[in-house]
């Protein structure tokens, strides 16, 4: 276990030390303390490291993550795990706006609530939220899954492309072109597998599924010659 106290080591030095392990097998777990809401903790990791962050973090924690397993024991500020490519990011508390924005892959688990615009422009990652999500979540989400065990506020899935949304609680309103869809056995099986992987105890049978009605699509392959 390597412990880094951010009261003694600045963020750039911490992140450089973690980046120096890029491509490494990263067997030594890391523990980050003294966070005090600091920004950009453990961003840009590109190795199968285990990083445990003790305390609340500020903006952009674990952004652009690849391969690493990052756990924040606390709350996270805006832009958590933004543009994540792979690996796992877990927050035991709540996350502010834009959590998992544009994530291409990997798994983001928020055990508490996520604020507005969770999973905005999601591009293939999976996000599991133990609590509720704020307004305009999954706005323009293109691929991947957003699973909300609590409620979703207004504008869920506005202008959504092909991401899948699951909500167990109430929905404050669907955004443009977002509609409720059937939940098949296959959806439930895959959802159960995702919840299990996320370590979130929720009944897969209690979720409703939402996705794109595809009425906002202007490009159609039959019209390819026109472009």
């Amino acid at each position: 276990m390597i412990t880094v106290d951010l009261n003694c080591v600045d963020i750039r030095e911490l992140n450089q030390r973690l980046h120096d392990l890029n491509g490494d097998d990263g067997r030594n777990p890391w523990r980050i303390v003294g966070t005090d809401g600091r920004h950009s903790i453990a961003v840009g990791l590109n190795a199968p490291l285990t990083v445990v962050v003790e305390g609340h973090v500020g903006y952009y924690c674990a952004g652009m993550n690849q391969h690493a397993d990052v756990t924040v024991n606390g709350h996270a500020g805006p832009g958590l795990a933004e543009n994540m490519m792979s690996g796992t990011v877990r927050v035991t508390g709540n996350a502010s706006q834009g959590a998992g924005a544009s994530a291409h892959g990997g798994l983001l688990v928020i055990e508490g609530d996520a604020s507005s615009r969770c999973g905005i422009s999601l591009k293939g990652g999976d996000i599991v939220v133990g609590g509720s999500v704020g307004h305009m979540s999954a706005f323009m989400a293109q691929a991947g899954r957003l699973v909300v065990c609590g409620d979703a506020s207004a504008g869920l899935g506005d202008s959504i492309y092909e991401a899948e949304l699951y909500v167990a609680g109430s929905v404050g309103g669907l955004g443009a072109d977002c509609v409720e869809k059937d939940v098949t056995d296959d959806h439930r099986r895959r959802l159960a597998e995702l919840l299990c992987r996320a370590g979130i105890d929720a009944d897969p049978g209690s979720f409703r599924r939402f996705g794109s009605a595809r009425t906002l699509y202007n490009f159609h392959v039959d019209h390819a010659g026109a472009y």
Binding site: D36, R38, G58, S96, Q97
Partner: protein
Amino acid sequence: MCGIVGLFLKQESLEPSLGEWLEPMLVAMADRGPDSAGFAIYHNPAPDGALKLTLYHPETGFDWETIAEGLGTAFVGNVDLQVRVTHAVIVVNATEAEARAWLGQHHPDVRITSVGAEIEIYKEKGLPDDVAESYAIRHLTGSHALAHTRMATESAVTTEHSHPFSTGRDLCLVHNGSLSNHNRLRSELERHGMTFQTDNDSEVAAGYLTHRMAEGASLEEALESSLEDLDGFFTFAIGTRDGFAVLRDGIACKPAVLAETDQWVAMASEYRSIAHLPGAAGARIWEPAPATVYAWSRN
């Protein structure tokens, strides 16, 4: 981008610590707003019937004694004067209208930053760290305070454009965000007889709240109606005589964090400002919901 902080103490016994706790809150937001900084503090109530004014003149070493003497002659009674850098707090036996008229006639170059019984507003161009140091914020005592660090986006970097803005007696506003309809709204408010010192959008928000409350709205009603009438992005913190309120617009893209313990309520743009407060680790911490008024007071 700007930084906002607010600290409200629930117990009178903690009042000696207000400045000591507030200063690092303000300084932690310096990189959100390095242009200028300001703060409003509530303490040392004026005697019944007296008025407390905070005045500003850009000249350090300005002759405040002459103003205090003039006010003492015009309005019979003791005039209490305390000078802090470019600001002076004067307690005078006059109504607000009388004091404004006298100052406007005799010292039009002096600006009034606050009016009330307890509020004092200080603001200055420059790095928040320097402002905190020159005003010795850490030594201030009081029941609650708001502070602001400014990164100008809408208008010039001057002391006059800095926050907090007075919104009436013992009321003030700090704002993170930008308003799109402030020019039209300013014209409308001017038609109702309001005057503005700058072209700043936040001053219009402050004027709007002042106007609505002058029409009879409660602070909460004025804030609710601001959600309809103000077009733009905002996180507001509003200081009142016995507490403070927080409001974010419906889009809520400007950050805000609230934290509460048995001893205090703190509001900040980022948790970094709250982390150092005693008991922060065990505080209830949450993000204020969009378009929702949060308010605390001792009463």
